[in-house]
Amino acid sequence: MTTASTKTTKTGAAPPRRARRGIGGGRERLVQWTFVLPMAVFLLLFFCYPVSRNLMMGFQQWTVASFYEGGAPFVGLDNYVELVTDPVFGTAVLNTALFTAGSLSFQFVIGLGLAVFFQRRFPLSGVLRGLLLLPWLLPLVVSGAVFRWIYDEGFGVLNQVLLGLQLIQDPVPWLSSTQYALTAAIIANIWVGVPFNLVILYSGLQAVPASLYEAAALDGAGPWQRFRKITLPLLRPVIAIVLMLGLIYTLKVFDMIMVLTGGGPANATETLTTWSFALSFEEFDFGQGAAVGNVLIVIALVFALFYLRSIRDSIRSEGGPR
């Protein structure tokens, strides 16, 4: 941080600049801070305070009574002990892992495939690529509602198509059976996440020099070899960022699951996020809801640190992450 600023003061020590710093420097600095002040106050009130409060609530018995009486007794690790011994805990952790891994891997592979395809230059490629962004821009609740109809046992188009193709004999209860609900939710979430992967991977591919491909083609490398030996290695930093961001965002997916299944049937689609919501806002045990939220914070933080590491250099240089 200060490396850049000390450098400018030392090397760029042109006399007028130093003079201005010397005389009006203090006041100037104060005025500069007024630019940052509103955001700093907002971050303090709406991030630092809530996050620290949530950490505290995890150790408190926070119930409906707390709203009326104000107090919430500290109970140590009780909330965490109760969570871990709750049979839903294992289900929620496993579902979160499956949901995240399933969503991420398919979003990535489909996104990469589309990005490679749209790297070719052909008429309308820009327009078509733009249209592919639509699922990402739609409110998740809208996508959820649409998929709920698609999966509808009686009238949904999915069952009708599968019946028509004679792939199934009876309508499948996609969302109301414990067997299929999680897969159905993952498929819907993959659809939403593909555009994000596509855009970032596509911009990564633009940075791969075309001359490398030409040289490899001259050496007799086929398309698959070129992809494996040139595209993948050069894309590695971008891939790392896409996967890490995708992971952090998929961990906290809420809207899609709530609209499709509400975490059911029989907790079949309950993830840590929906469980935390259910504990707080349906059972009004905010202490336990906070405890689950804290588990999510820790997981997100671990990957956030990886993410920050991988973009460290681009923050230092002007412009921030790309």
Binding site: M1, S5, F46, L133, A145, D255, F277, G319, R322
Partner: protein
């Protein structure tokens, strides 16, 4: 590349896009069919006999929620830009002690799961009377948009030529005057981008909406759709018509500001 291959690519690309956007097609298709038609199986592939019934019902039952979301989203845009634009300028331009740390904080706060914010802000909002209020929703949604806007605006603002700013300073403009009359006009496109995305985030927010509104006084459209789907699973044309209406901001963004969309995704790298 030969013409034939280019044409083949366009054809393949079109088929891929059509297949991928099939759910969107079904949303529009279903929204234009009558309730009776939807109870027949198999569903009609085209709205052969289109009707606006679904839209009439959508506006009748969800119209006020659309308005509520509009007010919240516009308020969020205004608040976000007021807070983020000066901060982004400072982070891009001034060599203040601790600014890089601030950038890191802004990046980090985007990783905080929304459920944590909802959980811990609920008691606070309850105490301050911010539940079921526009102010509360605008403040809550701004936690999604402020970090995003700061990052994206910072990227653009660091590209403003230093000579422009120096010239204004030499002419005797103060820091804020320079910011208002030089930086902001030059960064108009960036402000539009950040504003559009803030609008979209606030419009699409569901978690805060469902946590902080009980549905009695104000109810954003996302909660409206959620309850609509939950209550009437046979009234699919009304639900889908509402979904289409709720998609309008996204469609406008895609049609009018397509070139900013990619910048928004890569610049801020966020979406709930």
């Amino acid at each position: 590349m030969s013409t034939a291959r280019r044409v083949t690519n366009t054809a393949v690309g079109s088929v891929l896009v059509l297949a991928f956007l099939a759910p969107v097609y079904w949303m529009i298709n279903v929204s234009l069919q009558s309730s009776d038609a939807l109870l027949r199986t198999p569903p009609a592939w085209f709205p052969a006999d289109p009707t606006w019934d679904g839209y009439v019902e959508a506006i009748h039952t969800q119209g006020s929620h659309l308005l509520t979301s509009l007010v919240i989203a516009l308020g969020t845009v205004l608040f976000t830009l007021l807070v983020s634009a000066p901060a982004a300028h400072a982070l891009a331009r001034f060599r203040l002690r601790g600014t890089l740390a601030l950038v890191l904080v802004v990046l980090l706060v985007q990783m905080v799961p929304g459920i944590v914010m909802a959980n811990s802000l609920y008691p606070v909002f309850s105490q301050l009377g911010l539940l079921d209020s526009y102010a509360g929703m605008i403040l809550a949604d701004s936690t999604l948009t402020v970090p995003f806007a700061v990052l994206i605006l910072r990227t653009f603002m660091s590209g403003v030529p230093g000579e422009l700013i120096e010239a204004a300073r030499v002419d005797g403009c103060g820091q804020w005057r320079t910011f208002g009359s030089v930086v902001l006009p030059v960064c108009r496109n960036a402000l539009i981008t950040a504003g559009l995305f803030s609008f979209l985030f606030a419009w699409a927010d569901f978690l805060f909406a469902v946590s902080f509104t009980t549905g009695n006084t104000i109810q954003p459209i996302t909660v409206g759709i959620y309850r609509f789907v939950g209550n009437q699973t046979t009234n699919w044309n009304g639900v889908m018509a509402t979904a289409v209406l709720a998609s309008i901001p996204a469609a406008i963004l895609l049609l009018t500001a397509q070139r900013y969309v990619a910048a928004g995704i890569t610049g801020g790298g966020v979406k709930e």
